[in-house]
């Protein structure tokens, strides 16, 4: 059994596998991250059957938290399996913060949070802003402190999909990238190691100051999102809002009442960044 431990933000993971290669790949990508003593979650990358350890190798994602109907991925996508496994533990098991499916970057102690469904561009935008002077906090989950409302980083490997892969290789030529995985359920995927500052400052939270709902593929536009609509959308973007009960209600209500929100449409990364800078200057 090969094992690897990593601290990502406040969460400690242990990832184990009978295969050496995925564990070595993970360890290489996460080389600069702290290694925790005591894990919060265990993820295991297993072969679904003895045969599948050797022939048409495939990876089943197992862990403390699992969902039925999960289907193994091909062995070449073991890194994706590890990422999904870690995400799943957070989505189902994390209770210490209000979990938002969103990306975040920080400037001067304040956080810009971007949320939306897959394809909205929140992940790519956070990576791009991380190259333009903002501190990268995470591309998948934002953790809100239940008492203070502060956003805590969860700076896992950045997951780039399809067109974003080439875009980030241009925007961040010095960054470290994982292997290209093609024909995954989400298309082409490549992981990118976040900037050094994101890793060294992963315990530093920031007060949310602006919330954006980006939408890729439309003429540039900005629309205000009122707290009521914000609440409806954010409760759909949180995997643990209901489970947190009163604390979740308090935290989400405070968030929508105190953080200005805008929906932005854009067609290129540069357009989006220009909109972001303009809104940040005007509203924060």
């Amino acid at each position: 059994m090969h094992e690897f431990r990593v601290q990502v933000g406040p969460a400690a993971f242990r990832i184990g596998s009978r295969w050496r290669q995925p564990v070595e790949q993970l360890a290489a990508l996460y080389a600069d991250y702290p290694k925790p003593e005591i894990p919060d979650f265990t993820v295991r990358l297993d072969a679904p059957s003895l045969l599948r350890r050797f022939l048409r190798k495939s990876v089943a994602i197992n862990g403390d938290f699992m969902l039925p109907d999960a289907v193994p991925l091909p062995f070449g996508q073991a890194l994706l399996a590890a990422e999904m496994g870690m995400n799943l533990q957070m989505a189902l098991g994390w209770r210490r913060h209000l979990l938002l499916h969103a990306s975040a970057v920080e400037r001067e102690g304040r956080a810009l949070i971007m949320t939306g469904a897959s394809g909205s561009g929140k992940s790519t935008l956070s990576a791009l802003l991380g190259q333009r002077g903002w501190r990268f906090m995470g591309d998948e989950f934002v953790l809100l402190d239940l008492d203070s409302g502060a956003a805590t980083p969860f700076p896992r490997m950045i997951s780039l999909k399809n067109e974003a892969i080439a875009a980030m290789q241009v925007a961040a030529p010095a960054a470290r990238f994982g292997p290209l995985m093609t024909a995954t359920p989400k298309g082409d995927i490549m992981h990118m190691v976040p900037p050094v500052a994101a890793i060294t400052r992963m315990a530093e939270s920031a007060q949310p100051a602006l919330l954006l709902f980006p939408s890729f593929g439309h003429l540039p536009a900005v629309r205000e999102v009122a707290p009521g609509e914000n609440f409806m959308r954010m409760t759909q973007a949180s995997t643990n809002y209901v489970a947190l009960g009163e604390a979740g209600f308090r935290a989400m209500t405070r968030f929508v009442k105190s953080v200005p929100a805008r929906a932005i449409d854009y067609q290129t990364g540069d357009e989006a960044i220009a909109l972001v800078e303009r809104l940040w200057e005007r509203l924060v």
Partner: protein, 99 residues
């Protein structure tokens, strides 16, 4: 045989956290941990109910003191429908009389 008059009584105020936003009002139900997003006339109905058991008809009278209800649909039928919807969710309870 006349059907007994339906009375409704709101969940006690300390069991509900009400947070008005813009177009919607949030109601967090402490007993169940469930959040409901509601629109007009639900918040107004809950406020008008106060702590007493009321019938739909009495509630319509209370509401029309405070608000112009318009004349589009049968007000009592609409208020009954909302009360029943609230009762299904436990935000309001059905009761037999106003004792």
């Amino acid at each position: 045989m006349v059907a007994p008059t339906k009375y409704y009584i709101a969940e006690p105020a300390d069991q509900l956290w009400v947070e008005p936003l813009d177009a919607i009002t949030l109601i967090y139900q402490r007993r169940s941990g469930i959040t409901h997003m509601v629109v007009e006339p639900v918040p107004e109905i809950l406020t008008a109910m106060g702590v007493d058991a009321v019938t739909a008809a009495a509630l319509v009278a209370k509401l029309s003191d405070q608000f112009d209800l318009g004349t589009d649909e049968d007000a009592e039928a609409v208020v009954t429908a909302r009360l029943e919807e609230l009762a299904e969710l436990g935000l309001v309870h059905r009761t037999q009389c106003d004792a």
